[in-house]
């Protein structure tokens, strides 16, 4: 390995890690012990935002970007001609502490290419975390990637040092994995995931028995999937996501719009725009699963495999279930309030609190943070609809679509913007279809 200085290493190993989307520092509350450094807040703290608008919370780097594997979608694949570097565990620990002291970061996000073999790679990561935790007595946030194929004892050791662990699924189906990541299999990914889940489970029971039992990945486990590199539909991805939340008790599933980093003929060609809109819709649906009490089958189904590019999944659901609306905000239970477009978790909670002190009217709702522009079509206050509300097609469209979506819609359906339409063969949406879907039921 070439001897390069810390600046070069940081550049190479950040560049190699940046396609990992997870950068949250949430899920655990703790403070520094005497003589130590570092705390963590359950809500997480963003320390900066990169020019692409993504949060920077952790020092996100690889231990090394040398890799024995040849996954087609990955910048660090063996066959890619790119400069390679590796941090020594001590270098990395020192860099982390120095960034942390200056309040640049909330902690460390450590992943790695496979150097020599999975066990060796895992040992290097453990050593870096050990220096941080034991020598510096660092109690800040650490997110560690479980290395698929590493010995379960090593994974276990890593989990005792980290706050959050993750195993990336990357490709949402077995067949895509086989095609693009010949060295990985569904089995090699789900095994460590299941193992981590069992350890977290066991640990909770231990903690009940012994209050000071060491904690195993107290902030839980997460994963990520690449969207747009392979032909899985939104419905398949969302179903898989729901399954992961239920079966593996994941804290988060992240989605990453595929950025072409390879010329492989098996992947979308270079220059393909990342399917950002699709990623956005997946996150919206993910929120509906986690906080709004929706199930994947309500959001999409066999007949509707892709998201509506023009309106968000919640509006879409509401428009096709007009039998539930209009809802009376002064009486509807919390779980029903959450289903109204324009009302979110915060405003629903405020409504429930505020209506105890007196009946709510439309101007009051506005103060509570309800987006009346959308909600007005779906609610009544004291049995009445909003004053002077005229339901015209144009007004309804304008209020339910975001400005960009409206622009898209006015221009007619462009060839390039809703990427998913070109990826999956399905009947093209026509202007009339959209109109019907948006205003038919109002």
């Amino acid at each position: 390995m070439l001897k390069v200085d810390v600046f070069d290493k940081l550049k190479i190993l950040t560049d190699a890690a940046k396609y990992d989307v997870a950068c949250t520092s949430s899920g655990v509350d703790k403070k520094a012990s005497r003589g130590g450094i570092g705390s963590a807040t359950a809500c997480g703290i963003c320390h900066s935002f990169a020019a692409d608008g993504r949060c920077i919370s952790l020092l996100k780097v690889l231990m090394t970007n040398s890799c024995a594997y040849d996954c087609q979608y990955c910048v660090n694949r063996r066959s890619n001609d790119t400069p390679r570097a590796a941090f020594t565990p001590r270098e990395l620990a020192e860099l982390t502490i120095n960034f942390y002291r200056r309040n640049y970061i909330e902690g460390l996000f450590l992943s790695s290419g496979i150097l020599k073999n999975p066990d060796y790679t895992c040992e290097q990561m453990i050593e870096a975390l050990r220096i941080l935790r034991e020598e510096y007595r660092f109690s800040g946030y650490i997110h560690a990637k479980a290395i698929p194929g590493a010995d379960s004892l090593l994974i276990s050791r890593l989990g005792m040092l980290a706050d959050r662990m993750s195993v990336n699924i990357e490709l949402p189906s077995q067949s895509s994995l086989k095609l693009l990541a010949p060295d990985k299999s569904k089995h090699s990914i789900l095994t460590p995931m299941g193992y981590i889940q069992n350890r977290i489970q066991e640990n909770t029971t231990d903690l009940v028995k012994y209050r000071h039992a060491p904690k195993f990945a107290p902030a839980g486990q997460s994963t990520q999937m690449i969207v747009g590199a392979t032909p899985e539909t939104d419905f398949q991805i969302l179903n898989l996501t729901e399954g992961l939340y239920h079966k593996y008790k994941l804290k988060r599933v992240f989605f990453s719009a595929y950025m072409p980093v390879s010329t492989s003929s098996l992947l979308p060609p270079q220059g393909t725009k990342p399917p950002l809109l699709r990623e956005h819709r997946l996150y919206q649906a993910d929120w509906l699963l986690r906080f709004y009490g929706f199930s994947a089958n309500e959001i999409l189904d066999e007949g509707h495999q892709s998201f509506n590019p023009y309106i968000d999944p919640k509006c879409n659901w509401a428009l096709s279930h007009m039998e539930y609306f209009p809802m009376e905000v002064n009486r509807a239970p919390y779980s029903d309030l959450l289903r109204i477009p324009g009302i979110g978790v915060t405003s629903a909670k405020r409504i429930v609190a505020a209506r105890r002190t007196g009946p709510l009217h439309f101007d009051g709702l506005k103060k509570l943070g309800v987006v009346l522009k959308r909600a007005q079509y779906f609610i009544t206050c004291g049995g009445k609809i909003a004053d002077g509300l005229k339901i015209t097609q144009d007004a309804a469209l304008r209020s339910l679509m975001s400005d960009t979506a409206l622009g898209m819609y006015r221009l007619g359906l462009p060839e390039t913007v809703p990427e998913q339409l070109s990826l999956f063969p399905q009947p093209r949406l026509t202007q009339e279809d959209v109109q019907k879907c948006l205003t038919g039921q109002i």
């Binding site: 020019a51 001590r90 270098e91």
Partner: protein, 278 residues
């Protein structure tokens, strides 16, 4: 029944002084048109009344708040006092009068104008404090940490517990340029003091290297294919940028940043001794 009078209360700017205004308002059965602190630069023709801060009166009000409307309301009022809301004193007085009348449910009366205005102001304060927990940047000078911020609200009391838990063994200073206040901490006590005109010292070689490393990391982590400056700006408004390392350049920016050699040189002095063995 008391009515809005055309009187203006003038108090000394302290929280206790504000509570005395509440006392006065009840005693005289009047609601002032406005409450001025010594900082208020307004000339009005309305009659003004000097409210003298009396510790006994303020203590009576302070004790009655949690009794009548709960501890949440007291915390809320303390926070409201730190906000940059114009006429915050008047809103706090009106809120407390509502609280004495309606009890703890005042905290749920979110659709009321007074309660709503104060809630928004407090939200602004807590949001700003939360953002600054992330956006604040320390520099290391002789082993101590120093940072500068320019917040709209008085956030130092909210930042203090966070940074105490984060760096219990460090000595640090956070200077609030807007309000000329500083939070100073050394193990294990902290204090907020008035401080005019604090100047950050010149960074040394090591400090400059770490700043440069951070800027390098910041530039590199962006995925260029997703460039989205609008999104960045909505998450991190530009007014915070002036105090952040990643958007500033050091005056004597050198072409070749110092090579960092590994080893104990980078260990902070206090961390040199081996961890306590049990």
């Amino acid at each position: 029944m008391s009515d809005r009078s055309n009187l203006i209360y003038c108090y000394d700017g302290s929280f206790d002084g504000l509570l005395c205004c509440v006392f006065e308002s009840y005693e005289k059965k009047e609601i002032p048109a406005d409450i001025f602190s010594p900082d208020t630069e307004q000339t009005v023709l309305l009659p003004q009344k000097e409210i003298v801060t009396d510790p006994q009166k303020s203590a009576r009000v302070l004790i009655s708040i949690p009794k009548k409307m709960g501890y949440d309301a007291l915390d809320f009022v303390r926070h409201a006092y730190l906000t940059c809301l114009p006429q915050k004193e008047l809103y706090i007085l009106l809120f407390l009068r509502m609280g004495f009348r309606f009890g703890p449910s005042v905290m749920n009366m979110l659709a009321d104008d007074v309660v709503n205005t104060l809630f928004k102001a407090v939200k602004h304060l807590t949001n700003e404090a939360h953002l600054l927990k992330g956006f604040l940047r320390f520099s290391v000078f002789n082993g101590a940490l120093a940072a500068e911020i320019e917040p709209k609200n008085i956030v130092l009391p909210l930042l203090a517990p966070h940074f105490r838990e984060r760096y219990p063994e460090e000595r640090f200073l956070i200077y609030d340029r807007t309000h000329s206040m500083a939070l100073i901490y050394q193990p294990y006590r902290s204090e907020i003091i008035a401080a005019d005109d604090f100047q950050m010292p010149e960074p040394d070689e090591e400090e400059r290297s770490f700043r440069e490393l951070w800027r390098l990391f910041y530039r590199t982590i962006e995925v260029q294919g997703r460039h989205n400056p609008k999104c960045r700006m909505s998450h991190m408004p530009k007014r915070y940028w002036s105090c952040m390392t990643e958007f500033s350049t050091d005056k004597k920016s050198r072409q070749e940043p110092a090579l960092l050699t590994g080893g104990a040189k980078l260990l902070p002095a206090s961390k040199m001794e081996p961890p306590h063995q049990s």
